[in-house]
């Protein structure tokens, strides 16, 4: 079990840091987040900007799911780093699963399957994935 921040614990089942996504053929990444606590705070950002955050999903809830790219405007570069950031200000545990899907939403590979826990509201973690898209 890994650690981060002041009291953070991280359990890695899968962690791959680079992926090729054939966006032209309809491939995409699927982000699934399970959050425990009062108010999850998270976002997906690339080197240029933030693409989405918790406020885009309405009131706080336990399960979140989002595809990337939602449309062509979400891809700024063919070689970019996408970072999923998590804050433990008012949350205690997150589980992040990132998969590469084909155009029919079938799972081609699992890139990230990780648990993050912390009792320190000052803790945060940033999970990076380098994406080579075509």
């Amino acid at each position: 079990m890994g650690s981060f921040g002041n009291k953070g614990k991280r359990t890695v089942r899968t962690s791959i840091d680079g992926v090729a996504v054939n966006v032209t053929n309809g491939e995409h990444l699927n982000y699934k987040l399970t959050a425990l606590g009062a108010v999850p705070v998270f976002n997906l950002s690339c080197e240029h900007r933030t693409l989405f955050s918790e406020t885009d999903f309405g009131p706080p809830k336990m399960d979140y799911e989002r595809e990337w790219p939602k449309d062509a405007t979400e891809k700024d570069s063919n070689d970019d780093v996408y970072v999923f950031s998590l804050s433990f200000l008012k949350a205690t545990k997150y589980t992040l699963v990132v998969e590469r899907h084909d155009a029919t939403h079938q799972v081609l590979e699992v890139l990230k399957d990780i648990d993050y826990e912390s009792d320190d509201p000052a803790d945060a973690f940033r999970e990076a994935l380098r994406v080579f898209s075509s």
Binding site: M1, K7, L36, E47, T55, S85, D120
Partner: protein
């Protein structure tokens, strides 16, 4: 009448923090990283802390005063906590019919029971936010034995309590407002605490993406050109990330790095550290302000003992008000009743008020604690006892990181034995082992993974 005199008590050692805080301080660096992301996150955290340390010791800028060892803002109490105590109390513990524990207690909110009854995960954010009122009531159950009487059922004291918070602005489901001070203009604005942290998290996410690219490109170039890895990977960065990063990093790439490589990575991070410092400042300021939001509670506690041993009943009111960012006011009022069974009962009340001023803006997170000035009063009156009034003024002076000098003057209208006024002065040295360890580690160990 005894003339007033000041007594000095030398070298009181207090506030020694062990275990939890010390282990928390060693969280990041004592275990190897599981993958590349964990390694990079830790390096960013260490450099962020170092930058904050450096800034606070030179510029005296105003930052949060919250310790890094804070507990969650989220109520994580579980119904099973109280059930566990009740099971032990009834001697139904599966371990043994003997009562092995000398004392045990648990405090659980009514929310935990609500969640258990509803079959819902109490930390489901939707359920948590929809049932805030259930967290206004909490129950305490416990027992203990006098020293040397552990296991003697006749000596066991059972404590039961109930607490009600009619006014609680600290609950994690409340959208608290935070004051933000612009570091250049000094202008103060108010915004949602979560919103502020979310904004800072976004900026740090973009910053981390930039750092990740720069570090990955540097490592690939440096290792390939020096033939520590296959040079052909220079034209295949995707293969490099899949072969040498992720969970392959600790065993395949980390052993190849020299101190010069790690220093270069740290230089890259340092050049892009600002968003992480801002996130750290914003989060800690939000935590401090949330913890100082006003809270008022009523509490009833009773300790029941068998046979002729006295039972105790206490009803208490507590108000904790963060009056201003550096000013905190606490008021306690209590009524106590002691049922002596064989003798006359005792009853009485107690009132206490305390005002704490934070005189300087140093942060508790890194560097010295701030100067604190406390003024407090406590008065109590019980039947068959002379009323007692105690006033105290205390200054806590931070000497250096991990060492504080508290100086206090107390005035009481009677001592324990003599019905005369008594003035005492105290000074002592306190040191925080966890903070000392952190200071030592930061200065001398370098934080290399």
């Amino acid at each position: 009448m005894r003339t007033k005199s000041v007594r000095c008590i030398a070298l009181l050692l207090s506030l020694i923090c062990f275990s939890g805080s010390l282990l928390a301080q060693s969280n990041s660096l004592s275990t190897p990283p599981d993958d590349f992301n964990e390694w990079l996150n830790r390096r960013v955290d260490e450099i962020t802390k170092a930058r904050i340390n450096q800034r606070n010791n030179t510029n005296q800028s105003e930052t949060s005063s919250v310790s890094s060892n804070t507990t969650s803002l989220v109520d994580k109490s579980s119904a099973s906590d109280l059930v566990g105590v009740a099971v032990n109390l009834a001697g139904l513990s599966t371990e043994s019919s003997e009562m092995k524990a000398s004392s045990m207690s648990a405090t659980v909110s009514a929310y935990a029971f609500k969640a258990a009854a509803a079959g819902r995960n109490p930390l489901d954010p939707g359920f948590y936010n929809a049932n805030r009122d259930w967290r206004r009531v909490s129950f305490t159950l416990g027992f203990d034995y006098p020293a040397g009487k552990v296991g003697d059922i006749n000596e066991r004291a059972v404590t039961f309590g109930i607490k009600f918070l009619p006014y609680d602005k600290r609950d994690a489901s409340v959208d608290q407002q935070c004051v933000v001070v612009d570091s250049t203009t000094g202008q103060r604005t108010t915004s949602g605490c979560v919103r502020l942290v979310s904004g800072a998290l976004k900026e740090s996410g973009v910053g981390f993406a930039k750092i990740t690219r720069l570090v990955e490109d540097f490592l690939l170039h440096e290792l390939a050109t020096s033939n520590r890895i296959d040079p052909s990977l220079l034209t295949n960065p995707l293969q490099f990330t899949r072969d040498y990063l992720g969970t392959n990093f600790p065993k395949k790439l980390l052993p190849l790095l020299t101190e010069a490589d790690v220093k270069r990575v740290d230089d890259i991070i340092s050049d892009h550290i600002d968003p992480f410092v801002k996130f750290s400042d914003t989060t800690r300021s939000a935590i401090e302000q949330i913890r100082k939001k006003p809270q008022a509670s009523f509490e009833f506690l009773t300790t029941q003992r068998k046979e002729n041993r006295p039972d105790e009943y206490v009803a208490k009111f507590i108000a904790d008000l963060g009056v201003a960012p550096r000013l905190n006011f606490t008021l306690n009022a209590a009524f106590a009743y002691q049922d002596n069974k064989l003798m006359k009962d005792n009853r009485g009340g107690m009132v206490a008020a305390a005002l704490q001023f934070q005189l300087t803006p140093e942060t508790k997170l890194a560097g010295r604690m701030p100067w604190l000035f406390d003024v407090s009063y406590q008065g109590s009156a019980m039947t068959n006892m002379t009323p007692m009034h105690i006033g105290q003024a205390k200054v806590t002076i931070p000497l250096w990181e991990g060492f504080e000098l508290p100086l206090s003057v107390s005035l009481a209208n009677r001592t324990e034995l003599i019905k005369e006024k008594d003035v005492r002065g105290h000074f002592g040295i306190t040191f925080d082992v966890a903070r000392l360890a952190q200071a030592f580690k930061g200065k001398y160990l370098g934080g290399h993974p």
